[in-house]
């Protein structure tokens, strides 16, 4: 999606959009075949999206096993609702919407159960999300790869502390590289709201990641 936007800016949008359209049509065709009972078509759909969906849910929930379960639930819902699927949206938008809803539901369930992640030590007094205590390691690091790993872990933990309404658009934009338009469709909100939330999410992250920036 990064590429798409870049080429869009360069003025090659029509050709690339055609490719995207063909890819989308292919997803639609696979879902049509799934509807008629073609298991191989559904397997192809799963192989196309399993990593993206698992990764997205993992970034949302910060729990790999739970993310795998929810990704499977996403595909189960796609399979079950194949008869009711409408082609008004791209299939990727459709499946990401299901995954986002499942992830947000899971986060709310956790909140109700008052489950705090093992990495979270402080809870906001105003009822907000858990705050991470994430002090930078002051010891000298041996390797630049270790530095990168540490940063990635820190940012993953920081993302996990964001309120869910900021978390989803940030991940979709900065991790998955989706366009504002697509994010707005996935989250069923306006593009302006998406931009605003992403900006605020980055502001939160900047504060949390101050030591690494």
């Amino acid at each position: 999606m990064n590429t798409l936007t870049t080429i869009d800016e360069l003025g090659f949008a029509p050709a690339l959009q055609q490719d995207v359209l063909e890819d989308t049509t292919s997803d639609h065709a696979l879902l049509e075949a799934t509807r008629t009972g073609d298991q191989d078509a559904f397997a192809e759909l799963v192989s196309r999206y399993r990593n993206q969906i698992t990764s997205f849910i993992y970034r949302m929930t910060n729990d790999y096993d739970g993310a795998v379960d929810l990704a499977q639930e996403t595909f189960v819902r796609v399979y079950r609702a194949a008869d009711r699927y409408q082609r008004s949206y791209a299939f990727s938008t459709y499946i990401y919407r299901i995954a986002t809803n499942l992830a947000i539901s899971e986060l709310r369930k956790r909140k109700r159960r008052k489950l705090v992640s093992l990495t979270g030590f402080f809870q906001q007094t105003d009822g907000g999300e858990a705050q991470e205590l994430n002090p930078p390691d002051a010891r000298p690091l041996q390797d630049s790869e270790l530095v990168d790993t540490e940063r990635r872990n820190a940012v993953q933990r920081a993302i996990a502390t964001l309120p869910e309404k900021y978390r989803a658009p940030l991940i979709l934009r900065d991790v998955d590289g989706r366009s504002y338009d697509e994010i707005a469709k996935i989250l069923e909100t306006s593009e302006g709201t998406v931009k605003s939330r992403i900006s605020r999410a980055r502001g939160f992250l900047r504060e949390k990641m101050r030591a690494y920036l």
Binding site: N2, A43, R50, A71, V76, R152, D174, V175
Partner: protein, 248 residues
Amino acid sequence: MRKNNCELIRRELDELMLDEACSSSMADHLRNCAGCREFQEKQTKLRRIVGSLGTVAAPPDFDFRLRARLANESSSAVSQFGYWSRRAFAVAALLLVFATGAVLVRNVLEKPATVVDVVTKQEPTMHQPAKPVETGAPVPMDPNRKLVAGIPDKRPQSSRPERSVSAGSRNKRPLVAADFSSERAEVINGMEAVGTSAAFPIDASLEPFKVSLDDGRGNARTISVPTISFGSQRIVQNANQFAPKRVW
């Protein structure tokens, strides 16, 4: 003014993609504003770190587990269908049993009532045995009895009270009645029947004629005779009220 301009520039920076070239006005502002330049550096660094998270791969057995889950769900759906179909069958059977029981109870409750009713209605009949009508002879009349439209009673006496009761109770139309109980019955010879006569409609009941019989052993039988319409009939002047129908 400068602050507003910085906010605008930072918002634009936020909306840019990574490595996307900024406009000339934005570049000019960044050259002159250290705060915005620092913001851009930190923002770019943060976005690179976030973007470096990359994609986490699904486990190798993801497909296998998904197939197993789908198979499990479909089988559970089938078993659920079986469960609901069995429940529906049980409910239908229960309803059938209730309906049959209700019908049986209703029959049992209604049967004695019918017998009692029949017996009650038959009582006057049993005490008044049917008497053959003798043409040309005076017929003793029941003092409490009225003849409808002056029609002679040609039916057996046993059935007459039943019809009178039913006509009186069910037919709401006014009856043309003549009471001959205080007069002596005349004898007709059959020859006077022919002659000038007046015609008038007979108001007969439209209800079917029903006779209930009880054989004394609790068995009741009901005989229903359909309504007979005579239309308009001719009556002979000074005719005997008890003359046979043939002479009309």
